[in-house]
Amino acid sequence: MKTFRRRQWLVVALFLLIVGFTAFKTVHTARAVVDWKSHRDEPIRGWMNIGHVAHSYHVLPQALYLALGLPAAPPDKRPLRNIARMQHRSMDEIRAILQNAIIQARPPHPPPSDKSPHREAAP
């Protein structure tokens, strides 16, 4: 009986632990969904290629190819880290060049319906 009770308490403790963890993750998920709008622009990462960056930031890929001094055709499908290595640049440099090109490529005065903070920050 004593062993059974101890085991029962252990199950209750585990249950509460799991409920707490699930509640924490639920809040985290809900917050991520609510913050959806502010995550409009994905951070530029080494695995992405130029086409993916252009798609994520809603700009023409030609502007990004031009910024990196690459021909626009045929489309360069290499990841940015490979381009960085080829051009003897760091990923931070590549990221800065692309972000600058994105700012230039985006319309200076976004339509009123667009509330993206990144677009508002564009010159």
Binding site: K25, A32, E42, G46, H58, R81
Partner: protein
């Protein structure tokens, strides 16, 4: 680059063969971020890098093949071999959870572990094999679940193609929430039953 980043970069470079290999290996039981790979696949479809139906068919086929390998090895390799593997690599708790789930839910357990609680999928293959769950029923639930999984995640990636990383964060958290709810439901039911007795 992290393993996830390397896989995503490789997916952009090598396309379907890489998708097939990664999903098959993950379905056997190697912990790889296949949900993110599927979402990224959907995003690459939206960008015109890949085509929708080949991605869905290849992903489903790879997952089913990996599941069949897990099931076959467990069924014909037997409980002793699996016990030895678990002793070496761990994951005893996950195995026990999956075994309990397999016994309790059978076919629906296999189906839901393909797309809803994907982390338990490989373990349910093992437990279904050991428990000698009928192969015809296993493959039916498996194909249905894996096809739904591929369609669901690829379409999420396709619709939200410009936000792969944000989606991955949400899906990653959501998977924990679902797993937590399942575990809490099982434990809660155990507590209620012991209180009644």
């Amino acid at each position: 680059l992290s393993l996830t980043d390397q896989l995503l970069a490789a997916l952009l470079l090598y396309g379907l063969p890489l998708l097939f290999g990664v999903i098959m290996i993950a379905s056997i039981g190697v912990p790889l971020p296949i949900n993110l790979i599927l979402v990224a696949g959907g995003s690459f479809v939206a960008q015109g890098e890949m085509k929708l139906w080949p991605v869905i068919i290849v992903a489903s086929a790879a997952a089913v093949l990996g599941d069949q390998i897990g099931y076959g090895v467990s069924r014909w390799g037997g409980r002793r071999l699996v016990a030895r593997i678990i002793r070496k690599i761990g994951f005893k708790t996950q195995f026990e959870k999956a075994e309990a789930l397999a016994k309790r839910w059978g076919g629906p357990g296999i189906f839901f572990s393909r797309w809803l609680v994907t982390g338990l999928g490989p373990w349910l293959n093992v437990t279904s094999g050991i428990a000698e769950y009928p192969w015809r029923r296993f493959i039916l639930w498996d194909v249905l679940g894996e096809a739904l999984c591929a369609v669901l995640y690829v379409m999420v990636g396709y619709i939200f193609s410009d936000r792969v990383q944000a989606i991955e964060e949400i899906l990653g958290n959501l998977a924990w929430v679902i797993l937590g709810l399942v575990a809490a439901a099982i434990l809660g039911w155990k507590i209620v039953r012991s209180l009644r007795s």
